[in-house]
Symmetry: C2
Subunit: 407 residues, 2 copies
């Protein structure tokens, strides 16, 4: 008998019919002798509906109140799923994040989980019940409702799995696993049976959107076996593993991309110690997350050019902050562009193989795609290109590295 | 500077525009120097929408889970109203029933308030904030979400006013006060400036639907001055008062009615001590509330006939329970009728005036309305008639007792 934590996203619980189908699936696991904790998101469309209500009142709603509002989305789902389970004879009990309790910090709209009290869940499991927990939400030390930000339900599931020392955390979604790239862009994309945590981290953060990055980090930190699989059919999905040896021998696991970023550049900043901190400090203080950071010595060599990328939603605010900062640094110019896309090759095999970067750049050049930024790590190479080249670039690279062929 | 608790019902917060209007009204009270706590219901239609979702999954949803579901309705409103207040420069903070905390018993769907911790609210008021509390909901000692049942938001408001020793509890609704009867049935109905708590109790419980009965009981018990007024205009509304002397001199305050009841009768029960308890015990155990109770000695004088009324929603279940009970009592017959209406004359003046009952029965007889049951108390006379005579009976009585004329 094993303990399984399952997470069902908004599409998987998007209607009464689908909630009933999830109940059947959960009941199946229970009948096969497993103890099951289910973490759910808001029904698809519900979060957007709630945000619409908030925006109709105030363009920038108070973050604390936005959390009070948004957390109702998952609360509706836990109640309905528990009813559906009870309806088919499966004892169930629902809990909000505050009830569990999932303790977070007080950063409303993007809170981080600090601690989970598993006692209440364990007591229900011992009593033979399925426990249904609202994802995406928690409560701070003062009892204020918090949310983890979009996609936070994955993180909730992994954190609960870690707290309960679950045997597996299963993330049910509308795709049947992790692919070499997005099949909507490259039909020849292939499902991977396994992928390493490191590769998955890069795939997730770069926009594969199968899993929320923080959930993968959490899983890695607490060694929670994580599996991505579909709630709309059968199949083993993709297991995210710690054992590198077991991973397929391909040099490249896949191609990730992201079109939700914007880049900002400060030109001609005096090249002095601490300048990077002076530029990024105010951005970080505004709770804006930065992805790529590139610094180059400028032509005159007494100054430097500094470029970074942020989520496109944060672009206007980041640009405003940066212009203010640039004044104090007597920078020559501030510029930005939100019509960009990032394409990344990801793979642990890349470590020991030379020539991958040049093959990547050559492939893009052959298609006439100009590279605007480059950034590399041990297991990935990322390039920023004009947004319009995204699909062309992904398909060309997928083909060049033979990712569509069975390994 | 006084402390005011205001309650806005579902219609008053039924749209973004109306929530903004409520915010303006609250801000007005605050600007005039008052400390304000606002209790709100779910936006009109929301509770029905949620019940519809639950029913689509299960005909009889688990009460605990229904509460988890329904409590999201008010939670949405508190967040939106707080945003609206902040948007017009009025510092505000929202709290769910569980956060306040409003402690109730564990009778899901019809919980009763046991205690309210006012510390958190008082701290916010001291900090100059308006406090927005979700009505209708609470939390039991185990941390489970509970709801007070339909109309429970009024009770929440009065209970909070009592806990905070507020100077006045204002119930904003879609009518501008308490009327001599429902103006939709009798256009000549007149607004009362004042009404006693006892009269209001009878008016509320008998279906005037302006205030939920438990809220009036609460107000009476803790001597909370209660005022009913409209959220769609100006006006002083109706003050519910303890001082009988100040009340208008009319014998009759108004005519209440109720078409949501059904009656159940057991015929030919052996007339022995404890029979009433044996009949009503199982009904009460099923958490079904009983309104009128009438027992008459039957013709054979060795047995008795026993009749009571329940809410029409509880009728099928009550009938089922009663049939079961009747077997054990060797009763002759069980019957029921849910096409009935109750009409009641209410007024403290009635105590000292003979002839009111006979005038009432005479008025109904003149219209050819057959009386099926009669029940009286110190300040009211109720009759049960066929449902089809409701409007005719109310108008005839309103006219006969001259209620439309200025006092």
């Amino acid at each position: 008998m094993s303990l399984i934590v399952q997470k069902y996203g908004g599409t998987s619980v998007g209607s009464i019919e689908r909630i009933n189908a999830v109940a059947q699936r959960v009941q199946g696991w229970r009948e096969r002798g497993h103890r099951v904790v289910v973490v759910v998101s808001a029904m698809s469309g519900e979060t957007d509906r709630l945000i619409g209500l908030a925006r109709a009142i105030q363009e920038q709603p108070k973050p604390r109140e936005l959390d009070v509002l948004l957390s109702t989305g998952e609360q509706v789902t836990i109640a309905l799923l528990s009813m559906a389970l009870e309806g088919i004879g499966c004892p169930a009990r629902s809990y909000t994040g505050g009830q569990v309790r999932i303790l977070t910090d007080s950063a409303h709209n993007k809170a981080r989980i600090r601690d989970i009290d598993g006692a209440r869940i364990t007591a229900d499991l011992d009593a033979g019940r399925v426990v249904v927990v609202a994802g995406f939400q928690g409560v701070d030390e003062h009892g204020n409702i918090t949310t983890l930000g979009r996609g936070g339900s994955d993180t909730s599931a992994v954190a609960i799995a870690a707290a309960l020392k679950a045997d597996e955390c299963q993330i049910y979604t509308d795709v049947d696993g992790v692919y070499t790239t997005d099949p909507r862009i490259e039909p020849k994309a292939r499902r991977l049976d396994r992928i390493t945590f490191e590769e998955m981290l890069e795939m997730a953060s770069l926009g594969s959107k199968v899993l929320q990055i923080r959930s993968v980090e959490f899983a890695g930190k607490y060694k929670v076996p994580l599996r991505v699989l579909t709630s709309f059919g059968e199949g083993e999905g993709t297991l995210i593993t710690f054992e590198e040896d077991a991973v397929e021998e391909a040099k490249i696991a896949g191609i990730a991309f992201n079109r939700d970023e914007a880049k900002l550049t400060v030109l001609g900043v005096p090249d002095q110690p601490g300048v990077a901190h002076k530029i990024l400090g105010p951005i970080s203080d505004a709770n804006i997350e930065v992805d790529m950071i590139i610094q180059n010595v400028a032509a005159d060599s007494a100054t430097t050019d500094f470029t970074f990328t942020v989520n496109r939603n944060d672009y206007p605010r980041a640009l405003e902050i940066l212009k203010e900062t640039a004044k104090g640094l007597s920078a020559r110019q501030v510029s930005g562009d939100d019509a960009i896309a990032k394409i990344s090759l990801v793979g642990v095999g890349m470590r020991s193989h030379a020539g991958i970067a040049s093959k990547m750049f050559g492939t893009l050049a052959k298609e006439g795609i100009n590279i605007r930024m480059i950034s590399t790590s041990e297991i990935k190479i990322s390039v920023v290109v004009d947004a319009k080249y995204l699909e062309l670039g992904v398909r060309a690279l997928h083909d060049a590295f033979g990712l569509g062929e069975p390994s």
